[in-house]
Symmetry: C2
Subunit: 508 residues, 2 copies
Amino acid sequence: MSVAYDDLAKLLREAQTLTSVTELLGWDQETMMPRKAAAFRAEERALLSTLAHERATHPRLGELLAACEADQALRADPQVAANLREIRRDYDRARKLPLDLVAEMSETSSLAMEAWKVARGQNDFKQFQPWLEKQLRLNRRKAECWGTPAGGELYDALLDDFEPNTTTVELEAIFRPLREALTPLILTLTSAAHQPTDAPFRVALPLDQQLAFNRSLLEQIGFDVRAGRLDTSAHPFSVGLGPGDTRITTRFRDDALLDAVGSSLHEAGHGLYEQGLPKQRLHGQPLAEPLGLAIHESQSRLWENHVGRSRAFCRWVLPEMQRFFGAPLEAAGTDDLYEAVNTVRAGLIRVESDEATYHLHIMLRFDLERAMLRDDLRAADLPAAWNERVKQDLGLEVPDDTRGCLQDIHWSMGAIGYFPTYTLGSLYAAQMWEAVAQSVPDLSEQIARGEFAALLGWLRTNIHAHGRRYPAVELCRRVTGRPLDHGPLMRHLEHKLRPIYHIAEASK
Amino acid sequence: MSVAYDDLAKLLREAQTLTSVTELLGWDQETMMPRKAAAFRAEERALLSTLAHERATHPRLGELLAACEADQALRADPQVAANLREIRRDYDRARKLPLDLVAEMSETSSLAMEAWKVARGQNDFKQFQPWLEKQLRLNRRKAECWGTPAGGELYDALLDDFEPNTTTVELEAIFRPLREALTPLILTLTSAAHQPTDAPFRVALPLDQQLAFNRSLLEQIGFDVRAGRLDTSAHPFSVGLGPGDTRITTRFRDDALLDAVGSSLHEAGHGLYEQGLPKQRLHGQPLAEPLGLAIHESQSRLWENHVGRSRAFCRWVLPEMQRFFGAPLEAAGTDDLYEAVNTVRAGLIRVESDEATYHLHIMLRFDLERAMLRDDLRAADLPAAWNERVKQDLGLEVPDDTRGCLQDIHWSMGAIGYFPTYTLGSLYAAQMWEAVAQSVPDLSEQIARGEFAALLGWLRTNIHAHGRRYPAVELCRRVTGRPLDHGPLMRHLEHKLRPIYHIAEASK
C-alpha cells in the first residue's frame, strides 16, 4: 500500500504486542499466579508498561504517521483514513502525558489499590482518603495535559479517554430523563403485591460442575473455545489478549448458579466482541480495536440482559441446566427461572444490583466523582454525601463505608470518568436490541431453540467488524437509525418487568 | 557497596525480568493457551527474546562490569568475585553470537520443531533430515563463535553452554566405566528368574483425583505451593519464573498413577532447586541462578530415584495413596509398590526407560551427536547408525524411526550437547545421596515417616543456596569430598536392584 503505512503498522503491532504481554501478566495474576509472586509481578508489569509506552510515543511513529497523513492517495481509502484518524488521536494523547506522570500514576494505582483493600476490609475511610485525594490530584493533572474542550470541564477530558467523543453535558442530557423514568418504575415494582423470587435456584451445586456447565454454555452461544477460555477469579473480567486469544473469567458460589451464568454471559459478551475484531490481520491498529468502554459494555449487557434475562433464553437453558445438574433443579419451571433472573430490589451494592436499579448506582457515582474533580465536594466529605444520595435515590441507610463509598475499586485505580460508560453500555445495548429484533424477526424463537448464530452474525457484521472505524455516535446512528436515547432501555424494562410483577403497563 | 555494582545488578535484573516474562509465555503456551493463539504467541516470544538479548549484550552492561572488575575492594568479597566471574562469562558468550545468528537459530528452532513433529508422526526421517543438517551447521557456527578450548573439539563449546567447565574428554572418562559396569548388571537383571511387575498399580483412577493427589504430595515433600503450582501438560517440565514463582507440570494417564508420581517428583526436584535459589534479593545475578543442567538434573533425579524409588518412601506413600484412592489400591502392599517402581527392562523409548537402562540411551545419543557434529557421521546415515547402536546396546530391533532416531525433540530444537547432562545429573545425584545419608543417619526412617525437612534442608544449604558461586566440579568436591565418578550410582543400583530381582550381590 505504502512503505510508511506498512512500517507504521509494524511499529503499532510491536507496541500492542508488548501491551498484550502485559495483559497476560494481569490475567495470570488474577487466575493462576502463586501468591508469593505478587511483588515480582508488579516489577514485570511496570517494566512492560514502560516499554509499551515508549513504543507508543516514539518519535519514529510520529514521523511515519505524518508521512501517511500527507499521502493523499493513501487517505482516499476510507478505512485507512479512519485508521489514521484514530492512530493520530492515540499518539497525541499518549505524547501529552509526561513520562513522570505516567510512572507516578502507575505506582500510585498499585499502592492506592492495596490501601483501598485494607480500608474496605477495616471499614476505615480515613485510611483511604489521602489516596483518593492523590488520585484526584493526578487525574486533574492528567486532564489538564489532555486539555478540555471549549466550554467543557476537566471531567470531559477524562471521560474522553474511556468513551471518546462524549461530553459531560451530553451524558447529563441522557441521564436526567433516564432517572426520571426509572425512579417511578422501580417504586412501582418494589411495592407490588407480587414479588418474584430466586429461591428455587438457591441450591448447592458443586463448583467444578458449575464451571463445566458455564464452559459448555459459552461454546453453545458461539464463543470460540479454541480461541479463548473461561476460568475462575475473585472478580469476573474479560481480556482480549491478541489474535486467537480472548480470556474471560467468572466467579462461583455453591448456591448461586444463576449469578455465575449471568456473569459468564456478561463476560462472554465482552469476549465475543474481542473475538469479532479483525485482529488476525490488523492487530495493533485501531481498526482492530474495541471502540470504547460503552460499546464494549453494550455487548456484555446485550448478552447478559437482553438474551440471558429473556423468557426465550430461560425456556432453552432450563432443560440444559436440568440435564446437567439433575435432581436439585428438577422441580423448577421456565416461569420460575424467568422470575428468578428478573427480581428488582434496591440494594447497597452496585455489582449485586438488578437491571433497573443498577443505573441509580451509576448516576450517583457520576455526580459524586464529577463534584470531587471540580472540588465542589472534598474527599473528606465523600462518605456523608454518598450516604445521603443512597438514602435519597434508593431509600436505604448505609450501615458502613465498606458497603458504601468504599465498595468499588475504580477510584483507587485512578479511574475517574469510567462509571458512566456502564449505563451508556446498557442504553446502547437496548437500542441495538431493537434493531437486531427488527432485522431477525424470529429472534426469540431462535433463542428458545438455543440458536444464536443469526444474533451473533448481526453483531459481528454491524458492530464487531468495524473496530474503531466509526465514532460510537455515528455507529449508533448507522446501526439503529437514531441517536442514543433512554427510550429503548425503558421500553425493555417496562415491557418485561411489569408483567413479571403482575402490574399493568403504564399507558403511553 | 558500589554504584557500578548496584547499577549492574539493576541492568541484569531488568534483562532477567524480560526473560522471566518470556518463560511465562512458554509456560502458558504449554498449559493454558488456546490453540488458535499459537502464531501470535510465537510473535510475542520472538519480540521478548530479542529485547532480553539486547539488554544482556548492551555495551553499558560491559562498561559497568569492567568498572566492577577493576574495583579491588569490591572483588575482595568472594561472593561478589564469583558473581562477577559468571557475569563476565555470560556477557562474553552472549556478545560472541552475532544477532543474525541468534535470530536464525530462533527461527530455525521453531520451524525445525514443527517439521520434526510431522516427520515423527509420519515415520519419515527424510522430511526431517534437511532440518537436522541445518541445525548441525548452525551449531558448528555457534561453537566456532564461542571457540573451542585448547586440544578440544567443537562439541566442547556446545557442552560448555549446558554444563559449564566440562569437556568431552572428561565425559568419556566417566561414561566408559559406567557403561562397563551397567551393561552386565542390566543383563543379569533382565535375565533373572524373578521379574518384578507394576501390574497391581495399572488400575484406572480419575485424572482430577490424580492431580489432586500429586499436588498434595508436592506440598508434603516441601514444595512451597504459595510460591509455585503444579499443572498438566503434554510433556512434563519445570520452570523457575522468578522470585516466588516456580511452576511445574506433569502428565496423567488413567492407568498410570506411578508414572505421574515419578514425573511429579522429578519436576518437583527441579522446582525445589529453583525455590531454594536466593532470588528474592539477587534475581538476575548468577548467585541466584542454577549452576547448570547437570546439577539441575541431579536435584530431579535425587527426588525421583533416590527418594521416590526407595523402600522407605514406598512404605510412607502407599498408605497415602490408599487413603486417597480407596478400593482400587487396597490390596497392594509396600513390596508390591517397591517392585513396581523398580522394574528394569530394555526398551526403545528413552523417556519411558528405567533408572538403569536410561544411561545407555543417553550414551548412544552422546556418541551419535558428537560424530555428526564432527561430520564423522552424515545426517543421512543417522537412522542406520541409531538402529545398529540400539541393537548392540539394548539388544532390540528398531521397528521405525518414530521409535528410533526421531523420538526426541532435542536435535530439532538445535540442542546438541544437552543429552549428556541427564546422565551427569544421575551421577551427581547418587554421589550427593551418599553424602546426605552420612550427614542424616536416620534419613530412611524419616522418609518412611513422611518427613523430608532434614533432606531438603541439607540440599538447601549445600546446593541450592549457592547458585552459580562454585563451578560444578568444585561444588561436588565441597559437598561429597571427591570428584565425580560412577561408583555411587553403580552402588545405588546394585544394592537396590539385585535384591528386588532375587540375585545375590556381586562380590566386591
